[in-house]
Symmetry: C2
């Protein structure tokens, strides 16, 4: 860890003293950047971009080159690489979310689902990690990531994102045996996937549980959190206990205490949950990451400054806060507005790290 | 009130002793019922159905005829009648959500927005209320309703529903003066609208804040709850203090205490918030309505029975719980499954109402 030039994020994840609150932004390598759009044009489709390590490295590095106040890089990839490696056929149609050609729509298909050969099928991801790690030259830590078993399962069963999730919910309530089969396979695959990302150079790992919040409060632990817990404890058993782990359930503000007991080092928060409330609910046991409403970045530097300060004030004094948005940055963000955010966080937060 | 044959719902709203937990279901008059689909065919479009008092009465009565264990009727209408009356041109395309022909997309259009002539433009709604009230013959109470000022504003600015709400969020953060102008006009219009529904015979009113949960926790009170509060206190000033009021913010579990201090008699809960937690947070100050995950109704009577009991157990003993789903019933629900739910609630809940 000591080899990192800027180790603020990693130090915060270990609750060590830092000079300021570290900051990175979900989807920081993305469409709001003109340089990203250029690379994307060269690469072809979004998946072509993910699968080519040189292009993936190029876009991962772009926000770091533009914004001196970013404290981490995050692997450029998609959360759905795993179901794609399982043969479900991930594809994107212009202007729409991800879809699968072969979703899990009947019992026999579900029963046949198996753990893919992660090393071989997802080699392009580990290649990208190695290449990015080299390009970073220890400047800042690299965050590797995966979708959570539940979130992957929703896409695998529904065949796409959505709002109702009736297919998978019907399965949850009618055939919990089948849903557990999918979740167990996903859990084992995600564990291998994250372990290999760490082997390839990821300094921190994050599990995105984008759809955990669609479950009823009483089902969230059973079908989502418990499987993230297994991944964390298995990674620890495999010897990765010193690699900090972040879990992020969008809409998971109802179960903060349970999340803080999962073995994770940090919890991501969306903008519906207050940091001070979360701090109280988790009794400062874990680091909190978040949680500015991304749409604020569509306003003006002055409004952004005020809003960023409010988030920092909401967390208050102490080590244990990573500043981020409550969700990915939108493609309509004027790039200079992110500068205003990062500068405010860097400068204003120092007062919360003094003795 | 004493004229109602089944006054269980109204008694619960006044926290009076009842023999069992009353139950109704959001969107109980809807596409899952074959008889609804028949009437819809006769009526033409969804809006034609809303605007014809005979058809609106017919579909409002259908679930009551089918299910003897329903404790309330709810006016068949749409939450977007108000912006339609303001001239924004509500329309529906097959298989898609509501849209507006003339959304509020620039400052001058917003500045020109004015309170419509509610009595004239929304006369069809009050006609439906009178007609339904007559058909009900005091069997159960009739719930009137409106969208909340914020929820109406999201549709008025975005021109449709959605997931990001970037247009209105941009306005919130860049031009709060304009958003407040819209919200004030909506608030005054909703107040008149609900007052007239009560005059026409509504026994209870409910405000649906479907999109309040999209606001950051720090903005929810400012842009949504406070305007619902004004409606409630204005209705009370107008002499409607004895008409029970329910507010329902989907995704509003972060602000239960503030909601319970709004003057409302009851709070609706989605399935992400536990009833026992909400009871604690609101200190039993208000009645709680909810909150079974609607997708459970896609499973089997046995699973539904267990899940309904779990919800009743979660609230526990005492007057102050109205059983409902956490959101509208889905069109894919087998009608007999709702029977299983209603029977379980009626029979199992009595144990929580004994001395």
């Amino acid at each position: 860890m000591s080899s990192l030039i800027n180790d603020t994020l990693v130090k915060t994840l270990f609750k060590q003293k830092t000079a300021y609150t570290p900051c990175w932004v979900m989807r920081q390598a993305g469409r709001y950047l003109p340089e990203y759009r250029e690379t994307r044009k060269k690469a072809g489709s979004f998946l072509d971009l993910c699968k080519n390590k040189d292009f993936a490295t190029e876009v991962t590095m772009q926000p770091l080159e533009r914004y001196p106040n970013l404290d981490a890089a995050i692997l450029f990839s998609d959360i759905l690489t795993i179901p794609d490696a399982m043969g479900l056929g991930l594809y994107f149609e212009d202007g729409e979310g991800p879809k699968f050609k072969h979703p899990l729509q009947d019992e026999s298909t579900i029963q046949k689902l198996d753990i893919p050969n992660v090393e071989e099928k997802l080699d392009y991801v580990f290649g990208a990690v190695r290449s990015i790690k080299k390009a970073l030259n220890n400047q800042v830590p690299l965050i590797g990531f995966s979708g959570s078993p539940w979130t992957l399962a929703t896409y695998m069963v529904e065949g796409q994102g959505g709002t109702d999730f009736l297919k998978i919910k019907k399965l949850v309530y009618s055939r919990p045996d089948l849903i557990n089969h999918i979740l167990k396979i996903n859990t084992e695959t995600v564990t291998k996937y994250l372990a290999s990302q760490i082997d390839a150079g990821a300094d921190v790992i994050m599990i995105f549980d984008s759809w955990g919040g669609t479950l009823a409060h009483s089902e969230y632990e059973i079908y989502s959190l418990n499987f993230m817990k297994v991944i964390i404890s298995n990674l620890n058993l495999l010897g990765y206990q010193d690699v900090p782990k972040i879990i992020f359930t969008k809409g998971g503000g109802h179960s903060l205490q349970a999340q803080s007991d999962s073995g994770t080092d940090a919890i991501g928060l969306d903008w519906q949950t207050s940091l001070s409330y979360a701090r109280k609910m988790t009794n400062d046991k874990v680091v909190l990451q978040g949680n500015l409403d991304p749409s604020i970045l569509l306003s003006t530097p002055k409004v952004i400054e005020t809003a960023a300060k409010k988030v920092l004030d909401d967390y208050g004094k102490g080590e244990g806060h990573i500043f981020n948005l409550g969700h990915g940055i939108t493609q309509f963000t004027p790039p200079e507005n992110l500068d205003a955010l990062l500068e405010t966080v860097r400068n204003y937060s120092s007062k919360y790290h003094q003795d």
